[in-house]
Amino acid sequence: MDSMLELSVVPFDSGLSITLKGDLDQQAEPKIRSILNWEEGLGDGRRYLILNLHEVNFINSAGMALLIRIARTGRKRDYHTFICGASAHYQKLFRMVGLTEYVMLYPDDYAAMQRIEALESGVTGAGQV
């Protein structure tokens, strides 16, 4: 069965914002990899990756594992991952599986961008998300 996921990427100065729409499951990986090979880093010196899940209806354990792999890779490739727009239910599941050890959850794009601006302006020490 083909992936039911659509992606749109919006680059900004210091990172990438990816909006996901549809289902995030085991079929999502090749789709995401087609627009971003995260194992190589974000490129062009970008240090922040925002994944907007506002329009994701369904996430299973394989989808959550994929998110963790992307976030964990960031530690090696020097980028921070922010997840925004996840429903209360999926936020609960993310905590259950330990995803929140690797990413910060924000209600929306705007809140995540504010945090990134604060980090960039040095309000918080580098490396803290």
Binding site: M1, M4, N60, S61, R72, M96
Partner: protein, 534 residues
Amino acid sequence: MRRLAYPAAAAALLIAGAAAGWMAAAFLPRDAAAAAAAAVLMAASWAAGWAMRSMVRRGRCEEPDPRTDGARAEREDAGAKAPGDGWNAGFDARQPAARDAASGAAAPAERPHDAGPSAPGAAGIREDGEGRAPAGVEPMAAELRLAIEIQRRWQPPVDLRLDACRVTARSRQAAEIGGDLFDAVVLDDACVAVLIGDVPGKGLQAAFMVPALLLLFRSEVKRGGGPAELLGRMNRVLAGIGAESLAGGGIPLGIGLLDAKKGEMRYAGAGHPAPYLVMPGRAPRQIESSSLPLGVNMEEEYRDTVFRFAPGERFVLYTDGIIEDTGPDGDMYGFDRFEAELAAWPADMPAAEWMERLLDGQERRRASRRDDRTLLVVEYNAGKAGRVRELRGRSWRVPSAPGCERLIAAELASLLREEWADSGRTDDIVSCVAEAVMNAAEHGNGFDREKTVTVQVHFGQSIMVCRVRDEGAGFDPKAYRSARTAGSRHDDDADYGRGWGIRLIDELTDYWIATRDPNGFCVEMYFLSHDRRP
């Protein structure tokens, strides 16, 4: 050292019994395993009871203290022990009904002071004058909590709807660990098997007897046959291991096999109080089913009684604790009062409400409650004007392909929003079912499109049951739990996510069990509604 030997022996027996039970559950319905586990559990229950009684006797006899003895006598005379008081305060794991009962005015009587041979365990332990346990008893608290948890997990609430029928059960225990048991096993889209019984004694013996009997029932019911045949097979297993002497008496049990589409009930009892057939506005009718309890006579034969429900009719099973409930003046509740309650049951009152009212009413009598009280009701609503209800359940069968869980997840979410919107559990249920289907397709059927994954869901007013079946060999939930307990975690990226499906199921369900039969492997999940409106 000897003082420590009793709790140690009891603890070892408890843990051995529990391990045997869980192991057999993982391999159901292998009959030899079920029977063996039943035997081990029963032996463990008897021996644990013996160890506990010995320990309590030693606690009383070895350290006489005039000060505390005097205080104890005073407390016994007063007959008052506040719930949660003293060493027993840690027993918050008690079932709500037991907690409620214990907090009521009848609480002192519900914790008998005379720990007779059939009432070991929490209900039978005396305190010293300062509210402490007798020497050597405190180490048993953890094992008792384990026993309570095992019994709770083995006896989930019953509230399910199948076609035009609805099965509901309510139970209130007289002690922390009760001896009543009940169960409802959905066999297919039309049939459900119901069970009610009463294990002699309470406490630790009951904690292990009840799971053993449920295990035996769930194993045997899947082998087919009518209730009489089922009782016969269970009786031979129980008589063969000397269950009568282990349990301190024969085990009364009643089994019904309901065909919800036909509205037909087939019932057989083994020394259990005769059930009633009740039509609103008419006198209740008792269904005779005299025979010996299980475990007494290897050759005992049981007899099926078959009847068809009339629209609106109810079939009521109960344990003797309902009838024998005794008031402060020694006045037994009795059959007359019970039949009057049955006759006055309004046509539009759901069984759950009627049962709660009856049980509450008994508690208002400030009765001297020494036995558990359980009711199980089958309601048949088909054809009754204004009460016809559509089937609240659904099944799917899908080929094992990657992503096959998506269709089911989407349709189930829609069904839940329509049928169970107030439960607050839609997201939890959809996630669990999707994980179970994904596991079944990938690990059970190896993504072999010739093999199918079957999903069945049934809704009750306050509980939903979901079964996901595949054609594979299955997995051992015990191994999963021990891996989780050990805190194992994969650091390798490639392994990330492995086992998370089961982890989510474990976290999000109220209860789940994995079973295996000749047709494959089944994960059965139970969800309770969060809606608390009456």
